[in-house]
């Protein structure tokens, strides 16, 4: 956690001495067999998601549950994306606008809380003031609390903000605000640890040159912060995207206001009989952005993971 370095966890590889094997290495074979077995187990849900999402309604017989579709159809995906009001599928909320709303919530939230975290991290690590450690601990505590412990009075505050002159909208506006606020501890922690690992001389030089705090921050600190920004942005993006706790209380209307987790849950639990084809298409659609990020930027994702795992 606090003591873990941010990136490059697996990069400290050292060459191992290969033991000269005279006979066939059964241990090695067993190891790969086990690895492959667990890989299959881990991927079973993925198989189910994909296969079911392409199955037609009539293909839902339990005896064919694990088989490939009799006829591959894109109908579920279409219904999940665009929704349905009646007919064969009944009422299904559309995922496409929910994806747009979630993006509009997550991007500003991630960017703003990253900058807040960067500024806090900078002054806590490198432009210190009396009791900076106490302040850091006070901020950090916010990431260990279960959010249930603040939820009820928070509800009152959010209602007040929605009814005040600010006219904060239920759904993505309220949630973006909450993700920014409750993102402060983790972003501060990651940036502080990063700035502490940067040589002090860099900033001292700027200070000797007579640069003030803001100038040092903008011209010296920000340019070297890119790796941390990537880690923090990804972390904030995925955790806000996947959040369901705040979304379930402050998401507003699942069809028109809420982020995609709430819409997805409403689709999956909407009617008496769950339509698994549509639900699984919707689940895949809702997971796509975070999975793409994971595939493209996995290393940074893990960096955030190592430091942010105990967040509320």
């Amino acid at each position: 956690m606090t003591t873990t370095a941010l990136t490059g966890h697996f990069e400290t590889k050292q060459p191992t001495v290969q033991m000269p094997g005279r006979r066939f290495d059964w241990g090695r074979l067993l190891r790969y067999a086990l690895l492959l077995f667990f890989l299959i187990v881990v991927l079973i849900p993925v198989y189910v998601l994909f296969v079911t999402s392409f199955k037609a309604v009539g293909d839902a017989d339990p005896s064919r549950a694990w088989m490939l579709p009799q006829e591959w159809t894109l109908e579920n995906w279409k219904v999940a994306l665009l929704g349905s009001n009646s007919g064969a599928y009944g009422k299904i909320f559309p995922v496409l606008p929910a994806l747009g709303r979630t993006l509009a919530m997550v991007v500003p939230a991630a960017i703003i809380s990253s900058f807040l975290g960067s500024m806090n991290g900078f002054v806590l690590a490198r432009w210190r003031f009396p009791y900076a450690n106490v302040v850091f601990t006070l901020i950090l505590f916010g990431m260990f609390i279960p959010y249930q412990a603040v939820m009820v009075p928070l509800y009152r505050i959010v209602i007040d903000l929605q009814q005040s002159w600010l006219h904060l909208q239920p759904g993505i506006q309220s949630l973006a605000l909450l993700h920014i606020i409750y993102g402060i501890p983790i972003t501060t922690l990651i940036f502080r640890n990063y700035y502490q690992s940067v040589p002090q001389e860099l900033m001292e030089a700027a200070r000797v040159d007579g640069a003030g705090m803001i100038r040092t921050y903008v011209s010296v600190v920000l340019p070297i912060s890119v790796p941390s920004f990537v880690v923090v942005l990804i972390w904030q993006f995925t955790s806000a995207w996947n959040d369901f706790l705040f979304a379930s209380f402050f998401g507003g209307n699942a069809e028109t206001q809420a982020p995609v987790t709430v819409t997805l849950n409403a689709i999956a639990h909407g009617s008496m009989m769950t339509n698994y084809g549509v639900s699984m298409s919707a689940a895949l659609l809702a997971s796509l952005p975070t999975l793409v990020i994971y595939i493209l930027l996995g290393k940074y994702f893990i960096g955030g993971l190592m430091s942010g795992s105990v967040k509320g």
Partner: protein, 299 residues
């Protein structure tokens, strides 16, 4: 006053965050504690339209005395034990299997870890299908798979069992988080200098002896961190339960779900009390660990 000039800008820069934390963490926790000691069990009382009174720790006593909430606590305990044992077992096993420079290690690592990038709600959709309680002819999901591969005796009602329904919820949780524990342990293995292994090898130690006497002792801090993190996570289990079963399914209830139900039902005092109970449990878990790491940081 150069000192003054030096310290004012950083304090100004950090004060917005501090004020936000002051309000949204500390003041709200205080607010929860206060709410939890009142008789605010309806919305009109919450808005102040109707009167309420102070009941002290009455709500806590009511909660702990109710069979319903005790069932949630029992569920939470069982879930936590299974979740921690499961993720630690698979996480460690995978890290151990991958430790010895396997070919295609990167692919295994990424695929073992990817369930964590998926939201619990999306995972819940597919696990709801996998944990379908139907058996025999009508079985689908895992029950059907068991039939097909000749493990029919494993068929069961999954989340529908009153005593062990929550154990079924632990399965998707283990599926999601084992890869994370693997990543922690793998980082731990790689942090051990190779010289240690080599030295033991030169001394004639067998491979399992090296693990037993050289590597495992070095991993105990990693294991401790993992335990704390997993315990912290499991206490707040909510998304998975709601998506795999639902808010009001008795068999899979947990405190965080109760809390949502009380809140959505307008019983704000009881909801706040559950929130504070969860906070106290987390504090018991986290504070000793924080003190421990702070001490190590200083050394």
């Amino acid at each position: 006053m150069t000192r003054f000039k030096r310290y004012v800008p950083p304090i100004l820069l950090i004060s917005p965050s501090l004020i936000l934390m002051g309000i949204f963490v500390y003041y709200l926790i205080f607010g929860s504690v206060q709410l939890s000691t009142t008789s605010i069990h309806t919305f009109p009382q919450f808005t102040g339209a109707r009167p309420h009174e102070n009941v002290g720790i009455g709500n806590y006593l009511d909660l702990l005395g109710s069979e319903d909430f005790r069932h949630s606590l029992k569920n939470l305990l069982l879930y936590t034990v299974l979740f921690i044992v499961g993720t630690m077992f698979f996480g460690f096993l995978w890290a151990w299997l991958l430790d010895r420079r396997s070919k295609a290690e990167g692919i295994f690592r990424s695929l073992y870890l990817f369930p964590m990038a998926v939201s619990s709600v999306a995972a819940g959709v597919v696990w709801r299908w996998l944990l379908n309680a139907n058996q025999g002819q009508r079985a689908s999901g895992l029950n059907r798979l068991f039939q097909t591969v000749g493990l029919g005796f494993l068929e069961n009602g999954w989340t529908t069992s009153v005593d062990f329904g929550i154990a079924a919820i632990a399965m998707p949780a283990i599926w999601q988080m084992s890869g994370y524990v693997m990543a922690l342990f793998l980082a731990g293995f790689r942090g051990i200098p190779n010289e240690l292994r080599e030295a033991a090898r030169v001394d004639g130690a067998k491979e399992w002896q090296i693990y037993r006497h050289v590597l495992f002792p070095q991993l105990s801090p990693v294991a401790l961190s993992a335990l704390i993190i997993l315990g912290h996570m499991s206490l707040k289990v909510f998304d998975l339960i709601v998506s795999v079963t639902d808010y009001r399914v008795y068999t899979t209830k947990a405190p965080a779900v109760d809390m949502a139900n009380y809140m959505n039902g307008g019983d704000y005092a009881t909801a706040a009390a559950i929130g504070i109970i969860l906070l106290l449990v987390v504090l018991v878990l986290i504070v000793p660990y924080l003190i421990h790491t702070a001490r190590e940081d200083r050394q």
